[in-house]
């Protein structure tokens, strides 16, 4: 094909017996919205890099998916976000880990790639770089949702490992 776009979006429920029609409809709507965003870029002659960023930003804003708004909670009740992006033309790459204030972590990863001499920034330094470079900042509360909090509370109550498949929502 002249252009292609493939996406994935983890929403936390993969077993058929736990899926509800409402959850499935919301997930499908989110995936279609992400495809729409990327398709708009690619069909207009835009770059693959712009397309993957556009698609991922839609999923980061959708609380059904475990990224950006709707991210799962750490044990301490915070949201720590990780993202990466890579350009196949040059193998330029950017990544961030443990960021807490950037609305679209994928855009911060791209900023690292395009506006720093580094590949991978983490934690407070990455948050600082984001603010200094003018990316959209949000209160950390933006990322949390009641459903993700319930999942954390359930995990703590059952005192199970992250690697217990039934409890691994990420």
């Amino acid at each position: 094909s002249d252009w292609t776009l493939v996406i994935h979006g983890g929403a936390g429920v993969i077993e058929r017996e736990r899926m509800t029609p409402e959850r499935e409809a919301a997930a499908r709507a989110g995936l279609n919205a992400a495809l729409d965003a990327g398709q708009k870029v690619l069909s207009g002659g835009g770059t693959a890099l712009d397309a993957v960023e556009a698609a991922v930003k839609v999923l980061e804003d959708d609380p059904n998916f475990n990224a950006g708004r709707g991210a799962v909670y750490t044990y301490d009740g915070t949201n720590e976000l990780d993202a990466a992006i890579m350009d196949g033309r040059t193998r330029a790459a950017g990544a961030v880990a443990g960021v807490t204030r950037t609305r679209h972590p994928v855009s911060l990863a791209r900023k690292v790639m395009e506006d720093s001499p580094h590949v991978f920034l983490g934690g407070k330094g990455a948050d600082q770089f984001s603010a200094e470079r003018g990316l959209e900042q949000v209160d950390p509360a933006w990322f949390g949702t009641p459903e993700r909090k319930r999942q954390l509370d359930e995990l703590k109550a059952k005192d199970v490992s992250w690697f217990d498949v039934d409890m691994k929502y990420g």
Binding site: S1, D2, W3, T4, L5, V6, I7, H8, G9, G10, I14, R28, L31, N32, A34, L35, G38, L42, S43, G45, T47, A48, L49, A51, V52, A55, V56, E60, F65, N66, A67, G68, G70, A71, V72, Y73, T74, Y75, E80, L81, D82, A83, A84, M86, D87, G88, R89, R91, A93, A95, V106, A109, G122, L152, L155, K156, W162, M167, K168, G170
Partner: protein, 132 residues
Amino acid sequence: TVGAVARDQAGHVAAATSTGGITGKRWGRIGDAPIIGAGTYADDRACAVSATGSGEFFIREGVAHEICARVRFAGETLKQAGDTVMAETKALGGSGGVILTGPRGEIAWSFNTPGMYRGHVSAGGKRVVAIY
């Protein structure tokens, strides 16, 4: 974890991945999503990959780069390379999946979980959105 891979009209590929990690993570744990070569990789000479799953296993296997290397050096299709590397990752105890596209417009995915939320669209192609 969410991600996207694309091939544009000029034949270039790119990959992106974003995640909140896993519920209840501690000690600053980082998974494969932001690790270049594990959860994310793009190379015009091979393919673009975004992964989701049990990150520790994807990091150990170097899943995304391993798939691209098999395509580039062994001449495997995206599907062959994806299935092979996912099988090796599963053998180590890992579960999850990958999405793939290549510079000639190939599309593939491979996963070893009961389901994976995913979709693809292409110029002149039918849109697909699937979970199981």
